[in-house]
Amino acid sequence: MSAQVCQACGASNEPSATACRVCGRALSREAAAAAAGLPTPAGYPSPSYVVGLPVAPEAVHRTSWTNLLGLVAALVLVLTAGGIGVALIAGHFAGNGQTAGIAGSSNQGSSSRLATFVPQGQTESNAALSVVLPPGWSVSAVNGETITLTDPDGTGSLTVGSGRSSQAQSAQQNRDAIDRYYEGKYPDTAPCPGSQDAPGILNGADGLFWTLCFTVTTGAQSFPGACALFSGATSDGGVYYLVEELTARDNLQNFVAEAAPVVESIHWNLS
């Protein structure tokens, strides 16, 4: 059978079409009826009244609501048990990880300054600070207040920052602002287990040392992370000092040790 041509718009339609696919108008009634091969049920009673249906139709649905809820409940129970089991087994093999703070600084509250080991390497600086990079370390970002470095293995980053505070803030206030920043960025931010906050001095800057643990989510990937932090300020609160050592949670101790020479080379230009 040849294609039907719509009398209104001239579009070509399938032989069995009853309405034009372009403009929607009905095609030739005779052609539509002939192509369908079925008589239109003129004078047919209400469609809800079906007579002569020999067999009651089968049930439409295959899954009862009890089975459906039961499957969901079973899923929850199995996965809850599985999740707890995974956590217990993984924790058993992980052992006790000690959380390290920023190395190369005095955590005892004294004003003494450690004898510093200045590594040989490239010096990176901005208006606020300078730092010496050991071989293998690279600079990933620099601006007027911040220098971000990456270790040779790419397992973590060291961010050093200093600048004029927009409003006078003590070291504690700076620390609170940093905590709020991390809590906003990583919803499960909390002090790392076993870590202790402590006042101290980092290369002449008075401040606070602490560590935070959280889950770093990027895209659909999530990683348990940790950050060893130092937040300092001048006595008038006009200048802030910041050091962040960010890495995987189980790598924090190693990363802090690896970054120690870099941290000890920090020279604050602002005071």
Binding site: A17, L38, T40, L69, I84, T155, G184, K185, D188, A220
Partner: protein, 384 residues
Amino acid sequence: MRCDHCVQDVPDGVFCTICGAHQGASTEVGDPKLRLNRYAAHPSEHVAQPAIFTTLFPHLGHHKVHEFRWAFFVGLACILLLYAAGLITAAILVSAFLVPTLYLIYLYEAQVYRDEPATVLGFTLGGGIAIGIVVTLIERLVSHPFQSAGNPLGGVAVDVGGVLLVGLVIPVVEEVLKTIPALILPRRVAFPETVDGLVLGIAAGLGFSLAQALIGFSSVLAALPPHVAPGNWIFVLVTLAVLQPLLQGSATGLIVAAVWRYRRGRLDRREIGAIALAVIAHIAFATGTEVLRDAAVDSLFILAWQGAVVGAVLIAVRYLLHHSLLEEAAHMGYADTVCPGCHLRIVGSGFCPHCGTALSAAPNTVKRMRRPRKEAPGSTGRRT
């Protein structure tokens, strides 16, 4: 009666059983033939309603949708309980599995796979899982989660390189690869309708989402103790349980449905726009999340952004499916059947004359029960 729009003699009813047009309706609510206020798969809803279940589970009737909706809410309630109890590891696992499991039950309920469950499920869900494992592992290798902590005291800085990778490159690659399992399905001729392509694409996308969630959170699952302080884990769990699987499933379903339409000889602006919107929505979801997270914006706003993107994709899916059902159901012949929407035993063609449900979106068990009619009982057999 004679249909107002296709001018065919059809059984009396509120809707024309051939073209689905709403009879006797004023134009105040729009074109009665286009019936945008009567979604073809669920006529009690508007096409532009971002409903989850009536969009992604189109074969479910009015009654069954409620049961699946309640099962979903029960699952969410369980996740909330696990979160409140501090069993975050368990909550992550339940979140990852909830929507894909419900969809697997739906595929069984609607028998979308016809008589080849192993092949269809293996290619769609299984293929999606396999591709998800490979892609997510590669993403973990190229991502640098500890690259920069930012300076919270020196002003917000967005990691442009990271945003481009996570927000642009990875979504495009994922959208291309996720559709492969559904597109290479053997014996696709057994699944000719656009609604079949949509459902198969959603299944592949949900398989991908499941693998992505498990691989992506593998480090966290191994590192978290059994019980932790709940904190703000709820935001992560909402994304994992609801928004991420909905995005992955609906975007893949939209692309595969558009390809199914192309194979039926339909490639208009609607189909091209559907594919473009799926990719753009995924980019917007990922980019917006990364930028807002780098800027330390409140997590509630991030969820709102993600929800808005998912809502837009759901509406796009409904538009494409609505138009395809209106076209494809119009070619069905008369038959004795049961309407999956209103559960009335009817004699109809493509649409239920009572509620307007497109009968081509019925479960396969209902389609098999159709008894074709050449002549209705009581009719004179006159041709008009």
